[in-house]
Symmetry: C2
Subunit: 202 residues, 2 copies
Amino acid sequence: MLPAMSLRDRKRARTREALVEAATVLFERDGYDETTIADIAAAAEIGTRTFFSYFASKEELLFPESDARVRAAVEAIADRQPDEGPAEVLLRALHKIGDDSDDLGSRLAALRLRFVRDIPAVRGRALQIQTQAQGEIARHLAAAFPDELDEVGAAALTGAFVGAITAALQVLLADLDRLDDPAAVQAAVRKATDVALRPWFR
Amino acid sequence: MLPAMSLRDRKRARTREALVEAATVLFERDGYDETTIADIAAAAEIGTRTFFSYFASKEELLFPESDARVRAAVEAIADRQPDEGPAEVLLRALHKIGDDSDDLGSRLAALRLRFVRDIPAVRGRALQIQTQAQGEIARHLAAAFPDELDEVGAAALTGAFVGAITAALQVLLADLDRLDDPAAVQAAVRKATDVALRPWFR
DNA sequence: GACCATAGCTGCACTCAGTGCAGATTTGCA
DNA sequence: TGCAAATCTGCACTGAGTGCAGCTATGGTC
């Protein structure tokens, strides 16, 4: 990625990071609703108008690399071993997301968890991103198992796994007040995956 | 419900219906984004400001009775028969929703399907409503099976069912251009439920 | 039937998200 | 150095949504 980066692109990437960083600081200090886009743009030293050429909305700031995870999951599916069934491959792909997913210790990750719980607009966006990711994963899964799965079956299987894990995780995180403790969150993710998928594996 | 309805309450209910009806007409004619809240309020002959004492946002107009369905599902769980297991009861509850869910032939239902697919804000809201409903159903399910299920397990089971059905349905509806054909939609719902839950029953 | 407390309705002024446009600035490349 | 394209930015605008203050209608009371 370093090679094909013109000065223009590098500058743009730096501004993008500056925006996320500025937003993180302001969100932590003032809260989500209390921070305006104008505040964030000013802190990152760009014009308010320019913000919208980097992020389409305020929520997007909280999900700056959502597609990287999908790519990781898709790669995991491509690595399918001959002896694996659809469920095993899918499980491996989801673990890939769950493991590195929480850029452990990232302040942004903690904010994200909190705001997904507390701010409707953020929750809505998170659910949309998840739904879309789920769809892409299902498509790739169907492609990897043309004999065993059709599009609908792959979607159902993926939806079942993701739905079960997400729902279990939600309950577990609800009782957790320290959302900024990476170890605790990680443990909750593991337990949720464990409980949710027990009916399939074991 | 007729008894405990004062004139005030009846008038309020009528205004609420008028808003939904006006919105339906305008949405059909002009589309979602092109219809402003001011337009809708004017068509229902109330002040723009007053709109917000009936609905918190434009999206809510598309989900006027989302809680009635949850209540139906909860009742279905309460009707648990002694010989039923958690999965059977949950299936019955979800069927309850799926059956009457599409106020078949309702123009609003057709609009809802279209807008959930096309308008991000509406999709986000729909997912939120579904997530919340799912949580409530899971809580009641756990309560109905205190020995077999804990909160987390009930959430996982419910999430798996709902996730599987929703994902399957999404694929099926994507290929459907006539979202206003109740029979076709109903058939898709049945097929999605069927495919999604085959692994559990059969 | 008059009276009053309360709930509901409305206009006004405001903040903020987000968009279109046009002009200035910067970058990539020849 | 010079030019075309990409980027940045201010300006003006629309529309969602909120707080407030004043008005109106309702429900119950005397």
